[in-house]
């Protein structure tokens, strides 16, 4: 692996227990600027919990998160968001009954000017124009961005909108939870391509995925979780799928 830039996110000794269940135990994780890190592991290996801690959705039981060297405590997703960390949740990324424009700006609506702002009136026109421009930049083609609920879009289109939403607000890091799990071959390819374009904008990506070919194709670095612990942290280049599978099922432990 070539020289990794100074990691801007440093997670140290992160643990989380749910009652007797040890979801995550003493995990360290670094994320460099512009880096794509994949977190893999079997069901229940703790990767989702680890990622939810980083996104602010779950408070860590122990450990420390530093962003740009500053220790941070996330009390909710908004705290992570304020630092430029956006998350695409697997099933809860979008509101199916809202259109693309409303989804892109949900919680961060562009307001009208003057008295309209005071009345809480949004500027649909501004949001529509910015949404169109943003989607064009990411080369996402969806004709009906206004007035059509995203629930009536295809799975690939919905995932594209979710990524566009995260990419629009993430200045530093985009976290993707199983972005290709529900997609067909061609749509998965499009989503991976889109993730690369987001990275080209200088945004780091953490991706959770079960689909190892996608992981190997996209990631710079792969972190393997096993029973709540990090058992491997490797450069993706040169790693084979079989090696990953051995690590995931716990045949082999290796920390690079």
């Amino acid at each position: 692996m070539s020289t990794v830039p100074e990691p801007f996110v440093q997670m140290r000794g992160i643990s989380k227990h749910y009652g007797m269940v040890r979801a995550v135990h003493a995990v360290d994780l670094d994320i460099g600027s512009g880096e794509i890190v994949a977190v893999v592991g079997d069901n229940g290996a703790g990767k989702s919990t680890l990622i939810k801690i980083l996104s602010g959705a779950v408070p860590p039981g122990a450990g420390e998160i530093r962003v740009d060297g500053v220790p941070r405590r996330f009390h909710g997703p908004n705290d992570a968001r304020a630092l430029g960390i956006e998350t695409i949740y697997q099933d809860l990324a979008l509101l199916p009954n809202l259109d693309v424009v409303s989804n892109l700006f949900l919680g961060r609506e562009r307001m009208g000017s003057g008295a309209l702002r005071w009345l809480g009136v949004v500027s649909r026109r501004r949001m529509r124009e910015e949404a169109r421009q943003h989607l064009d930049e990411l080369r996402i083609r969806i004709p009906a961005i206004s007035g059509t609920p995203v629930g009536s879009l295809s799975g690939g289109q919905r995932q594209s909108v979710a990524i566009a939403r995260a990419a629009a607000w993430a200045s530093r890091l985009m976290i993707m939870d199983e972005p290709t799990a529900a997609l067909g071959v061609a749509q998965s390819r499009a989503v991976l391509e889109l993730a690369r374009r987001v990275r080209e904008r200088g945004i780091s990506i953490v991706i959770i995925s079960h689909i190892l070919p996608h992981v190997l194709e996209l990631a710079d670095r792969i972190v393997v979780m096993w029973h709540g612990e990090k058992v491997a942290d490797l450069a993706a280049a040169g790693v084979t799928q079989d090696q990953l599978i051995e690590l995931i099922v716990g045949f082999k432990r290796q920390v690079a």
Binding site: A57, P77, N78, R81, T87, Y89, L92, A93, L94, L95, P96, N97, L98, S102, N103, L106, G107, R108, E109, M111, L119, G120, V121, V122, R139, I140, R141, I142, P143, A144, T148, G151, S152, L153, S154, G155, G156, Q157, S160, L183, G184, V185, A186, Q187, R189, A190, V191, E193, L194
Partner: protein
């Protein structure tokens, strides 16, 4: 899948995808709104058509129907109750339900009665009534938003609670309100003989429409109704939104209560427990195409819904049919409306 998904609507929505055979297998998002059949099946289209047919029938079969005064009668008859219906729509779109509007109306009326007896000026009286209503809204909202209790059960409880208190406060008797300036609110008319109560109702609908369509609050109401967890993760302050929804609902009901007390010149606690008005409000909202599950609905739909119910009531009078048939027709329309809604949903491509 149909093979007709040509360039108009790219099946994948992402440019880099090659036109492969597999991509068309993934549910192409077809614009189901195109085509006149789907157009007529849209929830916002069914009602106006039924209303239009009814109006045509009534204007042909009765010489009085299109008379200006009769058209005013249609709106005036139920205007008071409908003031609350606009905001009941917002509650339901937000995924909740409010069973207290009629109770709040009575409570607001009782507050008016006592405030007037104290000799307070009418604007202060109205303000106090609206504040009392807002108080009930805050109780509902706090229990639903902060304790995350089920809105049906919470408002069922507060409905009983405040209805009981209304009985206690009035000894169960109807009480007369004799203030002349207060009676002006509900009994005077605007230019064009438009009753003030009708104007207030129209105002309530305009405000409700504006809130839902134009404001951030409106978008967040739809978001909360569409999926609370997703809305929260998107940065919507779900608790604030719910709080506001129930306060708005209660204040609009309080306003309706002021108008009712003024127009009727009395307050009757039994109006809160014996009235069918609550169920009629909920029926109008659902007939208007708002989903009981939240996330979908329109204020305009509710408005057309109440016009339909009002026109039917009026038509029964004009055709000299017993008004006992009114709930029969309301029930039938409610059932037809939800059947049409279900048919429409099944015609939509599944996700």
């Amino acid at each position: 899948m149909e093979a007709s998904s040509t360039g108009v609507f790219d099946a994948d929505g992402v440019e880099v995808v090659a036109e492969t055979a597999t991509s068309t297998l993934d549910a192409p998002a077809r614009r189901w709104t195109s085509g006149w059949r789907s157009f007529l099946l849209r929830p916002e289209m069914g009602l106006p058509i039924i209303l239009l047919l009814l109006c045509i029938y009534l204007s042909v079969s009765s010489q009085y129907f299109l008379e200006y005064q009769n058209l005013l009668n249609i709106t005036e008859a139920m205007a008071v109750v409908w003031i609350a219906a606009a905001f009941a729509t917002i509650v339901m779109i937000g995924g909740g339900i409010d069973l207290t509007p009629v109770t709040v109306m009575v409570v607001a009326g009782i507050v008016c009665l006592h405030a007037l007896n104290l000799g307070l000026p009418v604007p202060v009286v109205v303000l106090l009534a609206l504040l009392a209503a807002a108080g009930i809204g805050i109780v509902n909202g706090a229990l639903i938003a902060f304790l995350q209790l089920n809105p049906f059960i919470v408002t069922l409880g507060t409905n009983f609670l405040f209805t009981g208190l209304a009985y206690v406060a009035t000894d169960g008797n109807s009480q007369l309100i004799s203030s002349v300036p207060f009676s002006k609110i509900g009994q005077s008319t605007l230019p064009g003989r438009i009753p003030v109560s009708t104007a207030i109702m129209l105002g309530a609908f305009v405000v409700g429409f504006f809130l839902l369509r134009a404001t951030r609050f409106g978008t967040h109401v739809f978001a909360v109704g569409g999926g609370e967890d997703a809305a929260r993760l998107s940065g919507v302050r779900v608790r604030d939104v719910k709080m506001r929804i129930y306060i708005l609902s209660a204040v609009s009901a309080g306003l309706a209560g002021v108008v009712q007390a003024s127009a009727g010149g009395s307050v009757a606690p039994y109006a809160a427990s014996s009235s069918n008005d609550l169920l009629t409000i909920l029926a109008a909202v659902i007939i208007g195409g708002t989903a009981l599950t939240g996330g979908r609905g329109t204020i305009v739909g509710t408005f057309v819904g109440i016009l339909l119910l009002g026109t039917i009531a009026n038509g029964l009078v004009l055709k000299n049919i017993s008004s006992f048939y009114q709930p029969v027709v309301t029930g039938a329309i409610l059932l037809i409306a939800i059947i049409l809604d279900e048919v429409r949903r099944r015609l939509q491509p599944t996700q």
